[in-house]
């Protein structure tokens, strides 16, 4: 059992939790993730390690409530327990060598997984330009945290309620066109459509672009093949070969299709959960 020691509501749909998991905390590195189950008959879901504290023995997760499991997780309070929490899984992110100038892009809840990477770049002495975006100002998360580890921070909202009125790709485009400032690497984490746009956008410029993928997973240790993605025409298991891959090689069409496999079932699960909540039927 894994205790929830902190809970913060970041926005209407985004929550942060610190979970007591000393073994995971000891090992966690930027780019890695955990898999958790809320309770005995729950689903295993992967979430990025947003931060970790070896001394306290805790892992920070930030999640967007989009379906049954994330919504249920959101109902738990400090002092309650998760039945399972395993990690750190996946490959740690590699720092570019030699260190240079990096553009980091986080879209929506993707800001959470991009944050530990930006922090690692920053701690390694690199210049980091961050671009974060969300549908609307209220959904922007980790703005202060991102600012603290970025040399420059750009903000965009789809509805113009804060920062640039438009998409993260608009800002990126200006940087790509500015020939006076070389970009050594771009890392982008967010919804699949955003990552696909950025991959297509940077491809003609030949700038190395990394994305952190979020396919459906079960075990997270390379045992089921559920998380397979085509990268450069080869099948990779995201949980052990990734989750970070070269954006220009990823088959986004296939990934998008595969992530829709259980749309019907997800709806059923969510309806049942919300019905139980309304009736006070518990979890």
């Amino acid at each position: 059992m894994f205790k929830i020691v902190t809970k913060k509501v970041l926005s209407e749909v985004n929550k942060l939790m610190e979970i007591e998991a000393p073994l995971v905390a000891r090992k966690a590195q930027p780019g890695q993730f955990i898999i958790l189950r809320v309770r005995e008959n729950g689903e295993r879901i992967p979430l990025t390690i947003a931060d970790s504290d070896k001394e306290k023995g805790t892992i920070t997760i930030i999640f967007q409530e989009i379906g049954k499991t994330t919504k249920e997780l959101g109902t738990l309070e400090v002092g309650e327990y998760l039945s399972d929490f395993v990690g750190p899984l996946g490959r740690p992110m590699e720092l570019p060598s030699p260190p240079g100038r990096v553009v980091a892009i986080g879209g929506g809840v993707g800001i959470a997984p991009v944050y530990p990477k930006v922090k690692a770049f920053h701690d390694a002495g690199m210049e980091v330009i961050s671009i974060i975006g969300a549908r609307t100002a209220d959904l922007l998360i980790l703005e202060d945290e991102m600012r603290a580890v970025s040399n420059e921070l750009h903000i965009c909202t789809d509805d113009g309620t804060k920062g640039h009125h438009g998409f993260v790709s608009d800002i990126l485009q200006k940087m790509l066109d500015d020939k006076s400032q070389k970009i050594d690497e771009i890392i982008a984490v967010g919804p699949l459509p955003m990552m696909r746009v950025i991959a297509n956008q940077t491809r003609p410029y030949g700038v190395k672009t990394l994305v952190s993928l979020n396919p459906i997973m079960v075990d997270g240790t390379g045992m089921c093949g559920c998380c397979r993605v085509s990268v450069g025409g080869e099948t990779k298991f995201s949980c052990v070969d990734g989750p970070v891959f070269d954006a220009h090689q990823v088959d986004f069409d296939e990934l998008t299709r595969r992530s829709r496999t259980y749309l019907d079932e997800e709806k059923i699960a969510l309806e049942k959960f919300e019905h139980n909540c309304r009736c006070g039927g518990g979890k």
Binding site: N41, E43, R257, R258, E265
Partner: protein, 473 residues
């Protein structure tokens, strides 16, 4: 119940095994309950009477852990069931499991003299009977041994790990069993379905028994990620490590279309159903998605389990697609028989070449080619060769790939100095000792995908070797 001389004489002549009552095929494909019910006492004693108590008992040669078969069967004949189970457990820690899943027809029973004329003695069913008898009564716990002061880490809670952990605990060592999943049992939990090996009734009780011996079970720990093997020695103070991580890496065919929606590895398909209980969705959260027509590629136990699971999940038509002929099918005879009774359709000498998707990326068919058998290959089996121009399309909506598993590279990749075999297995000698001092290994991680009883046997041998090793420290 005591049998008179005449009856015993008759029984000794009986050519066939006593049948084991089982669920009707038409009923059982609608549920996940166990298919065979097992012998009752009377049938067990009668079946035991068919054993001739050979002096030079050939059957024992066929058992990888050398169970004293005539010995335990004699005790069943005499209705001394408590002693019978003790005899069985001298060599076999998991009789309730082995009685159910051992490929008896190629092991113990294939050597039984009674099999020369008629059917062999039903050794597996008798084993199951004794084990179930004991479970129903409540398992006796052996006395606690004097602590040795030595600590052993066991990695993986499949049959190899469970056996090694149980034996080491009984030798007085402090044992911690690490498992990557949230539940123990390895393939017994996530692979072999409920209708063949009940999880709560059988598996969980075997695991509880191992825990009651003092084994500290820690789930949710991925060795190589959460803690490395080197750290187990250097930071966690273990004196020896046993690796029983199995062969869990699914193989794919490498044909076009394999990443379409609706194509599962057998591991994913079975894990969703067994471990995550997708057949109870939405009571349990994990879903599984199945079309009306399902093709399972392969013909081993894994393929039979997948096919029979698909039926129970509601598929209307389930096909086995296998590139060799029926003689080469590696599954247990009982599994093939059960699958046929339940209506699984066998397409032999057929090989998939391409999976075809609809406009949304979902499987709508699988192109196959007919095969014929040619010269034997390096495995000694006839090599299947494609027949030119015999391509045809199967109209199926779900494909399950069950063509085999390889060892997971996680531990080999993260442990220094472990010598590996050609196919990514860990090299170990007949005692389970690896190239690194203090590290032992056994089960599928050493042999490649094999059987429960071999994994158990390897765990047993390694436990003895580890005990000797600890004595030298």
């Amino acid at each position: 119940m005591s049998l008179d001389k005449e009856t015993i004489k008759e029984l000794r002549k009986l050519k066939e095994k006593h049948p084991m009552p089982e669920q009707d095929p038409r009923e059982r494909i609608k549920n996940f309950d166990e298919v065979p019910f097992g012998y009752d006492q009377e049938t067990a004693v009668k079946e035991a009477m068919r054993c001739l108590q050979c002096k030079d008992a050939k059957c024992v040669e066929g058992c990888p852990v050398e169970v004293d078969i005539p010995g335990f069967i004699k005790l069943v004949q005499e209705e001394k069931f408590d002693e019978g189970i003790k005899k069985l457990k001298e060599k076999n820690n998991l009789p309730a499991v082995c009685g159910r899943v051992c490929p008896q027809e190629s092991q113990c029973e294939s050597f039984c003299v009674r099999g020369k004329k008629g059917q062999p003695v039903a050794i597996g069913r008798l084993e199951r009977f004794l084990a179930d008898y004991e479970l129903a009564k409540g398992v006796e716990k052996p006395e606690k041994p004097a602590p040795s002061g030595k600590r052993v880490a066991v990695v993986g809670s499949g049959p190899a790990g469970l056996t090694a952990a149980g034996d080491l605990a009984r030798m007085g060592h402090e044992v911690v069993l690490f498992e990557a999943f949230h539940a123990t049992g390895g393939v017994l939990r996530y692979g072999i379905p409920e209708f063949r090996l009940p999880k709560e009734k059988i598996l969980q009780r075997e695991v509880d028994y191992i825990a009651s011996l003092g084994v500290d079970i820690r789930t949710n720990v991925v060795i190589g990620k959460t803690i490395t093997v080197d750290e187990l020695f250097d930071e966690e103070g273990f004196h020896a490590v046993f690796i029983g991580t199995g062969a869990g890496l699914p193989q794919f065919l490498g044909i076009p279309g394999e990443n379409c929606n609706g194509v599962y590895s057998a591991n994913e398909f079975l894990t969703r159903t067994n471990l995550m209980k997708a057949y109870k969705f939405p009571e349990w959260d994990t879903p599984i998605k199945l079309a009306k027509k399902v093709a399972v590629v392969g013909a081993g136990n894994v393929a039979m389990d997948s096919a029979r699971t698909a039926l129970r999940l509601g598929a209307e038509e389930v096909h086995i697609v296998y590139r060799r002929s029926d003689k080469e099918m590696p599954a247990r005879a009982e599994e093939i028989e059960h699958a046929k009774e339940e209506g699984v359709i066998f397409n032999l000498l057929t090989n998939p070449v391409k999976i075809i998707a609809d406009e949304n990326g979902w499987v709508k068919g699988m192109e196959c080619i007919k095969m014929e058998l040619g010269e034997p290959d390096e495995s000694g089996r006839a090599r299947p060769v494609p027949i030119k121009g015999s391509e045809f399309i199967f109209d199926v909506g779900t494909v399950v790939i069950a063509i085999g598993n390889s060892p997971n590279p996680l531990i080999p990749q993260t442990t220094s100095g472990l010598e590996l075999g050609r196919k990514g297995t860990i090299k170990a000698d007949s005692d389970g000792a690896t190239s690194r001092k203090g590290i032992f290994a056994g089960g599928d991680i050493v042999t490649g995908a094999a059987t429960v009883i071999l994994a158990m046997g390897a765990g047993k041998v390694a436990a003895r070797a580890i005990d000797r090793y600890l004595g030298t420290l």
